[in-house]
């Protein structure tokens, strides 16, 4: 079964007198476990595409099936349920709750998924350990570096065992080395079987995907498979280079 299947996906926004077509007639299919990058300049429709695929918005026209289920016409609360169980979100600005520690942040999707307290704790702690933050579970976001905050966000996106992670410029707020670490983490998760849809305008980052979508003026203009660069290898090379330089 396909993970994502869209047919003529279209989104219009009201703007003044008329409407603006943010996305027009996008049809594509994504299989489970793919790592897809969506590229394009701002206003190209890639973010609208991400919002629709992320069930944050409903299409004006067209169909969208997620794991076989038509979700393009579901009411908001049903979509909330779908987001909770099938999807994980990673944002450019992390969007962690500032008052809560890392563990509580990661637990949050499980709270809305009605998972019991003890199980929530265990799963969130395991997920934090998995992203390399087992030692910092009780740190608040303000006590963590940007890269660590994004790791917490990734742990939060993964804790519900989603089918798909939606990443919106996940490295946009990070320096290039930390960005590389985050990409290595996402690639690692992707190898474990979680599909990733990542929106970026940065070609450097898009290299790590196995498939690249290009948007322009609301249309999908290119859809190419590519051999992904290995982030962990580049990271190792960077460390070697750094060591040699020193």
């Amino acid at each position: 079964m396909l993970l994502i299947e869209t047919q003529g996906l279209t989104k219009h926004y009201a703007a003044g007198e008329g409407t603006v077509a943010a996305l027009s007639g996008v049809s594509l299919a994504v299989s489970p476990g793919e790592f897809v990058a969506a590229m394009g300049p701002s206003g190209s429709g890639k973010s609208t595409f991400l919002n629709l695929i992320g069930c944050l918005d409903r299409p004006t026209r067209g169909e969208y099936r997620l794991v076989g289920e038509d979700v393009s016409r579901l009411p908001p609360d049903r979509l909330a349920g779908i987001r909770n169980r099938r999807l994980g979100f990673v944002f450019q600005s992390f969007n962690l709750l500032p008052r809560a520690d890392a563990l509580a942040n990661v637990e949050l999707p499980l709270v809305y998924g009605s998972v019991g307290r003890r199980e929530r704790r265990e799963r969130a702690a395991a997920m934090l350990a998995l992203v390399g933050l087992g030692e910092r579970m009780h740190h608040r976001p303000s006590q963590l570096s940007g890269g660590q905050q994004q790791r917490v966000a990734i742990a939060r996106a993964l804790v519900n065992e989603p089918d798909l992670i939606l990443a919106d410029e996940p490295t946009g707020a990070l320096d290039s080395r930390t960005g590389l670490e985050i990409m290595a983490l996402l690639q690692g998760m992707n190898r474990e079987g979680v599909a990733v849809l990542m929106v970026t305008h940065d070609a450097e980052i898009a290299r790590f995907a196995s498939r690249c979508l290009r948007f322009h003026d609301g249309r999908l203009v290119a859809d190419e498979a590519q051999a992904p660069a290995a982030a962990s290898a580049e990271l190792a090379a960077l460390d070697d280079g750094g060591a040699r330089a020193a």
Partner: protein, 438 residues
């Protein structure tokens, strides 16, 4: 990436399961404990703001409780004073009379007689009657002297007014008939003349007539008009008529007022009506003539006092309720600010699966917790304030538990009511716009 084997297996299983899951089960809700924890956390994050907002509710609740409690205390005080006049008491005063077409003011001409009083004993339901006269006189005992009300009454007076003895005895019907020179002193008079010494058995003089003190009355305190009921010396009616007041030739048998006691459990209004009709008959009043006497049902007076005291305390309580309302608007204001400030948080919560009602519940609970915390402190302060006010005013304080419950309930409702609009605003946010908000 060396992920633990168990976890990678679980992730893989998750994907497989995801592919085979046909329709997703409805997502469950946010549990209450979690919501409470989160609300307290949010309030703790802005302590000063929470305290200031809670203060509005706090003042309202404290004011409601204090006004209601003090009002109830004052009311009970007044009612107690009215009760102290005697339970089931009817009083007849002389009324206005027409004399040759000239209307005289009430009490201008005494027209009640001791015989009226005696006759009223025949009315069913009347268990005790006393005809009374009263005059201001100097009483002397040894070196001490005191100006007091010397009151001539029938022995039934003590029953009529529920008057207990501190010491000694009342005068008997025998002594009353014989116009004996015996006196029962009010507590104030006994203290003024004899201090701590026992008054009973001593001699006092009223207008140079010697009297034997046979009893001292238990203290009653002030009446509703603020007069000291214990500043009195009670002597038998006929003794007063003959030896103290001086005989009035025209009204040799006249009394200033008649007091009657209605049987416990009898209908006061009915008894009063019977008394009225017998009085009209005795005074030979034609059907079209008005009463030439005033009949007071003291339980009516008590009810009137009670009603006006209630009105006053309702007025005070509503003024206090307005401050609660203002406090509620403060809650709404701060919740609106909070929703705006936390727009991104709301966006995030929506993105990871919160339903609208989860967001609604979150902000509602926050508003209610805020209002309830203010209310709880307000209850404590209100009770404290009531006691302080009661002490200053010398009133008993009756903490009305229903007022406390009401104030707490109202503060919760205030939170709910004034929190609803901000919470609904939060719940209706578009997740995409909310996530982009800064």
């Amino acid at each position: 990436m060396n992920a633990p084997v168990a976890l990678s297996a679980r992730l893989a299983r998750g994907t497989e399961a995801g592919q085979t899951r046909a329709a997703p089960v409805a997502a469950g809700g946010l549990d209450l404990l979690e919501a409470l924890r989160s609300a307290l956390g949010a309030l703790a994050a802005n302590k000063l703001r929470a305290v200031l907002t809670g203060l509005g509710i706090f003042i309202g609740v404290a004011a409601v409780i204090a006004t209601v409690s003090v009002g109830a205390g004052a009311r009970q005080q007044v009612l107690g004073q009215i009760q102290s006049l005697g339970a089931n008491l009817l009083v007849i005063w002389p009324g206005s009379v027409n004399q040759a077409g000239v209307r005289l003011g009430a009490g201008q001409r005494p027209n009640l007689t001791w015989d009226d009083a005696q006759a009223l004993l025949e009315v069913p339901g009347i268990v005790a009657v006393s005809g009374n006269i009263r005059g201001q006189n100097q009483v002397v005992a040894g070196n001490a002297n005191w100006s007091t009300s010397v009151q001539g009454s029938d022995p039934d007076l003590f029953a009529v007014q529920d008057w207990a003895l501190e010491d000694g005895r009342f005068f008997t019907a025998e002594e009353a008939r014989g116009a004996r020179k015996v006196v029962v002193l009010g507590a104030t008079v006994a203290e003024a003349l004899f201090g701590d010494e026992g008054a009973v058995g001593q001699e006092i003089r009223v207008r140079s007539t010697p009297f034997e003190v046979i009893g001292v009355l238990a203290r009653k305190g002030q009446n509703p008009m603020g007069q000291d009921q214990d500043d009195v010396a009670v002597i038998p009616f006929w003794t007063a008529r003959r030896s103290v007041m001086g005989a009035n030739r025209v009204w040799a048998r006249g009394v200033n007022w008649i007091s009657l006691k209605v049987e416990d459990g009898a209908d006061m209004a009915e008894a009063a009506e019977e008394v009225r009709s017998l009085m009209r008959q005795r005074h030979r009043l034609a059907a079209n003539e008005p009463d030439d006497f005033n009949l007071r049902n003291m339980s009516d007076v008590a009810a009137t006092f009670d009603a006006s005291a209630k009105t006053l305390s309702m007025l005070l309580a509503s003024a206090a309720a307005v401050s609660l309302l203002v406090g509620g608007i403060g809650v709404m204001n701060i919740m609106l600010v909070s929703v705006t400030e936390r727009t991104r948080e709301i966006g995030l919560r929506l993105a990871i699966g919160a339903r609208r009602r989860d967001i609604l519940a979150q902000f509602l609970i926050e508003a209610v917790v805020l209002a309830l915390l203010g209310g709880a402190v307000g209850v404590a302060a209100g009770i404290g304030l009531s006691h302080a006010l009661g002490r200053v005013a010398g009133w008993p304080v009756l903490i009305q538990m229903d007022a406390v419950a009401l104030a707490v309930g109202v503060s919760a409702l205030t939170g709910l009511f004034f929190g609803f609009w901000p919470a609904r605003r939060a719940a209706r946010l578009d997740p995409i716009a909310a996530l982009r908000h800064d």
